[in-house]
């Protein structure tokens, strides 16, 4: 068990900088998720922690120890790969015991540790099979088993569920959550799927273009996104953004309006000046149908999911706003609707995209 500390971590390939200075502290036993779009550097960052990529600048510590120059095996880490990386010619038992075989451990120790890992992952019946006889989920279980046997201080997961089908992904997600509760180990998990991030993490690190956008608990990120990127990335369906102008601000709230909407009152954390150009963020789930709502449009798309109805409505300017309405709402295409936002759940961002 150990904490992980990153100080000014940078990675560059020649002149191209892919990680542009990351400072981060991951507490002992914490489940941290790196999330971001493809190419944001999240996998590179994880591979640098693992020791598979050199660190161009900065210091990386696991526990009290600076590990920049240690080979992967001495960093007390275990890694689970997206492609499983289990050895095709070995049985499950041999795969799980691989690290022990390499270290020359006696047979009794191997058997005991493999049995323990198999019990935790409920795969005792698979031990004598070969990887080619396993399903994707079972293969990933073997890979996790191999990680458990190492008794690492830090578990590293590189998009471990991306190769699984949707239903299995949900199951494995729950199992990983349970595994974390059982082992109480520090885990770092990389994904591009914000749902995985929201459900698994104690702490989410949102990355974009090699820069940390925001670090916080899932709900912090959901309710107080630090900037436009985080606001747009976290939450599904995606947050609506409307260009607005501030009319006035009072008591921690600002009255804003746009060509498309009537005046809307939104909370502000800092302050805005009258006439300032802002971006108003409204989550689809925070919109409701009302007779006198400030936002008027025509229904362009209806998706009925049973428990909710997602509609897209075209505003006069042509911008399509998405609303997730609770329950089954009787609407038809082309019908004019009026929507009212929940005023306590609105977000305002300044011209540079930072939340105000």
């Amino acid at each position: 068990m150990a904490s992980v500390t990153l100080k000014g971590i940078k990675k560059s390939y020649g002149v191209t900088e892919v990680i542009k200075g990351v400072d981060l502290t991951i507490a002992d036993g914490e489940f941290t998720v790196f999330v971001g779009p493809s190419g944001c550097g999240k996998s590179t960052l994880l591979r640098m922690i693992a020791g598979l990529e050199d660190i161009s600048a900065g210091t990386l510590s696991i526990g009290e120890q600076v590990v920049n120059d240690l080979p992967p095996k001495d960093r007390r880490i275990a890694m689970v790969f997206q492609s499983y990386a289990i050895f095709p010619h070995m049985t499950v038992r041999e795969n799980v015991a691989f690290g022990l075989t390499i270290a020359g451990a006696p047979k009794e120790e191997k058997d005991a540790k493999v049995a323990e890992a198999a019990r935790i992952l409920q795969m005792e019946h698979l031990l004598d099979r070969r990887p080619s006889q396993l399903s994707g989920g079972q293969r990933q279980r073997v890979a996790i088993g191999r990680a458990i046997v190492r008794k690492p201080a830090v578990f590293l997961f590189d998009e471990p569920l991306s190769n699984l089908d949707a239903a299995l992904r949900v199951d494995m997600r729950m199992e990983l959550s349970k595994l974390h509760a059982d082992l109480k180990a520090t885990m770092i998990y990389v994904t591009h799927d914000q749902v995985e991030a929201m459900t698994l993490a104690d702490k989410i690190v949102v990355l974009n273009a090699g820069i940390v956008q925001q670090v916080g608990s899932p709900l912090e990120l959901y309710h107080q996104p630090a900037n436009l990127f985080v606001a747009g990335f976290i939450g599904s369906p995606k947050m609506n953004f409307i260009e607005v102008t501030a009319a006035r601000s009072e008591d921690g709230r600002a009255i804003v309006s746009a060509t498309d909407t009537g005046p809307i009152s939104a909370p502000v954390r800092t302050s805005v000046s009258a006439g300032q150009k802002l971006t108003l963020g409204i989550r689809p789930h925070h919109l409701a149908l009302t007779a006198d709502g400030p936002i008027a449009g025509n229904v362009r798309l209806i998706e009925r999911l049973g428990h909710e109805t997602i509609i897209s409505a075209a505003l006069p300017s042509g911008y399509e706003i998405v609303a997730a309405l609770a329950g089954d709402v009787g609407l038809t295409l082309g019908q004019p609707v009026r929507l009212a936002p929940e005023t306590s759940e609105l977000h305002l961002f300044d011209a540079s995209g930072v939340a105000v």
Binding site: K73, F87, H89
Partner: protein
């Protein structure tokens, strides 16, 4: 669509193949006024006939072994058994291949065709040395050049170069290298040992001729197999290496647990291809030694060509080809069985 291809394969592969099998049971010659006759398996007997002759030492009237001044026992001449001796019709026309002394008795192995037997043994020696040597060397080179280094393609090209040069040209060049007077190899050894190394006629002595041809053959084709190994190496997923490095595997352990198992299919292919190519050893012999000196570099294919065209004995040449075919087929099957995936 496949019509022309099937026709050509039929004309140049299947038909000659069937012809060879058919002709091996006749007395067909290349040019002859006599009609061809079916002779059964006599061609095979002629080539493969072996017999064992126990030679008792000569004894005097008292039953004592006759010895010469040096104390060596005196044996009757083998010729007296194999030349029109009505008591031993089974030995008639055979020649001594080699003999082994057990106690006083000298066991003489007689062969109906000693040259063919020599060719058979030489070919087997060639295969047994070349297959592991060439395969292993090619794997070593492949591991060396399977790295992301600047200019690594230059090395790949250099190692592959001998493969694209005709084997006849390579053989001619190596004749200069092996030359007994001012050959490159002799000069090199001389300058390395400051003149202490005596000049060797590498291709002109029975002891060194086959070895010289083995070295040259390994060098010529090693690049080809290196490329096959390289393609095998590049099919192994890099994440497997990463997983192994996280588990702390040493270089040797990585090779043993990741690389080598991942190369299993490539290994079977390389082994079978080298074996088959080695059994077909001909061009080097034809250009460099013509089977000599003293039949020390005779090989099966060289014999087949010599008999079929040199001596115009088409049926003899065909028989050798059929024997070679059966040999290679059975060895390939054995190799496949030995290297099968064990479940």
């Amino acid at each position: 669509m496949a019509g022309p291809a099937i026709f050509l394969i039929g004309l140049f592969v299947v038909v000659p193949f069937l012809f060879a099998i058919g002709l091996s049971f006749t007395d067909q010659r290349l040019v002859t006024p006599n009609p061809t006759q079916f002779v059964g398996a006599s061609n095979y007997n002629q080539l493969l006939g072996l017999n064992l002759l126990p030679l008792e030492p000569e004894r005097d009237a008292a039953g004592q072994i006759v010895r010469d001044e040096a104390g060596a026992a005196k044996y009757p001449a083998v010729r007296s058994f194999t030349r029109k001796n009505p008591d031993y019709p089974q030995y008639d026309g055979m020649r001594e291949w080699f003999s082994v002394g057990v106690g006083d008795t000298q066991w003489v192995v007689l062969a109906r065709d000693v040259v063919f037997m020599t060719a058979l043994v030489n070919t087997f020696i060639f295969v047994l040395v070349v297959a592991p040597l060439q395969g292993g060397l090619a794997l070593g080179l492949a591991l060396l050049i399977n790295q992301k280094l600047r200019g690594i393609n230059v090395f790949r090209a250099i190692y592959f170069m001998p493969v694209v040069v005709s084997i006849v040209v390579v053989s001619l060049l190596w004749r200069f290298i092996y030359d007994g007077n001012s050959g490159l190899l002799n000069n090199l050894l001389k300058s390395l040992t400051f003149g202490a190394f005596p000049s060797v006629e590498w291709l002109g002595q029975p002891e060194t001729a086959l070895g010289a041809i083995i070295v040259m053959s390994v060098w010529q084709a090693v690049g080809f197999h290196m490329v096959i190994w390289l393609s095998g190496l590049q099919t192994i997923s890099p994440t497997l290496y990463e997983a192994a490095s996280i588990e702390g595997a040493s270089k040797w352990q990585v090779f043993r647990y990741v690389t080598w198992p991942g190369l299993r299919n490539t290994a079977v292919l390389v082994l079978v291809v080298i074996t088959m190519q080695a059994f077909g050893l001909f061009s080097q012999i034809d250009v460099m030694t013509k089977g000599g000196p003293l039949d020390s570099t005779q090989t099966i294919v060289f014999q087949a060509v010599q008999r079929g065209y040199g001596k115009q004995d088409i049926s003899g040449g065909s028989t050798i080809s059929v024997i070679l075919f059966v040999l290679v087929l059975s060895i390939s099957l054995i190799q496949r069985w030995l290297t099968r995936e064990k479940r």
